[in-house]
Symmetry: C2
Subunit: 152 residues, 2 copies
DNA sequence: CAAATAAAAGATAGAAAACTCTTTTATTAA
DNA sequence: TTAATAAAAGAGTTTTCTATCTTTTATTTG
């Protein structure tokens, strides 16, 4: 019997944590300063050690900035604040969501289309446009005021 | 280092195979008859044993019909041919794609929205509408003529 | 400089998804 | 009624993804 039912979100779990963490860092450090892994993990309700690995990765890729030692932590420089959400998604999940075939065909294209090719082309580009036109810093105010949530 | 880059399609791999297999069975048996697992697996380029498990599951759930023994195989009755693609997706992946939060929040809703709630509500319902309004038998002609592909 | 702090790095563990193999059951037809 | 066929069922294995733990490196402050 096939008993598993995947979570099947649009993004991987790693990517979900990544987006939440980056938005959390963005609004927490908008006025300067840094925020530590403990506070981030509890602020977005994620496993601390796992999130540490994810942020390590994002830091290496320049999506977030970090500093070691006392008063250290994660933060975003001005450039990072203005990056689109696509940068996070592509850093973690790659571009499969934007370019892949819904039915898993390797060579699905205009000349060799799967049955759902045209419809999903539209949907994929909607998702891409949405993420591409949304800057990381966009939600800072709504997060500060509490009308948007990053946990639960 | 985080070295993995998930495939991250919209559906699980199991579900991709399921959709392709069901559409294959639909067009192969539109004029009556049955089609065996070997022919289906090679027709959609999927691992045979794994697909057998998936079809077993779909058969139990009434999405496809099957018969054992010589001249046995899989087929679709009239009712099954008219079912929407959502039935396949929900049978395999559940409804997480249609109802879940893009950022993985358990209680994301109108009153407790994640930053992407409104935008993804639109996208999720677009995907649902598309699958809900598309009957399994819809592609039979295009598949028969070869202008749509289920492999590669 | 020593102690404390905090992220980076390395190594490993656990869970879920993807996939395989073997045995059993049902059906057909010689 | 036996042999052949083909799916169903059961019991794995492998791979990938998610998560944890320990050690190291860098930075700050007393």
């Amino acid at each position: 019997m096939l008993t598993f039912v995947p979570e099947m979100g649009v993004f991987s779990k790693t990517c979900e944590y990544a987006i939440r963490a980056v938005l959390f860092i963005a609004h927490k450090t908008a006025a300067g300063g840094r925020v530590g892994i403990k506070e981030i993990a509890s602020g977005i309700d994620s496993p601390e050690a796992f999130l540490a690995k994810i942020l390590q990765d994002l830091s290496r890729k320049g999506i977030v900035q970090s500093a070691k030692g006392p008063n250290g932590g994660f933060y975003l420089d001005d450039k990072a604040l203005k990056r689109p959400l696509t940068d996070i998604v592509e850093a973690i999940d790659g571009d499969g969501l934007f370019t892949g075939c819904a039915m898993g065909l390797k060579q699905c294209s205009e000349v060799n289309p799967c049955p759902l090719h045209n419809q999903f082309k539209t949907i994929r580009s909607l998702i891409h446009d949405l993420l591409q036109t949304t800057e990381i810093g966009k939600f800072n105010d709504e997060l500060a005021s509490g009308i948007r949530s990053l946990k639960r």
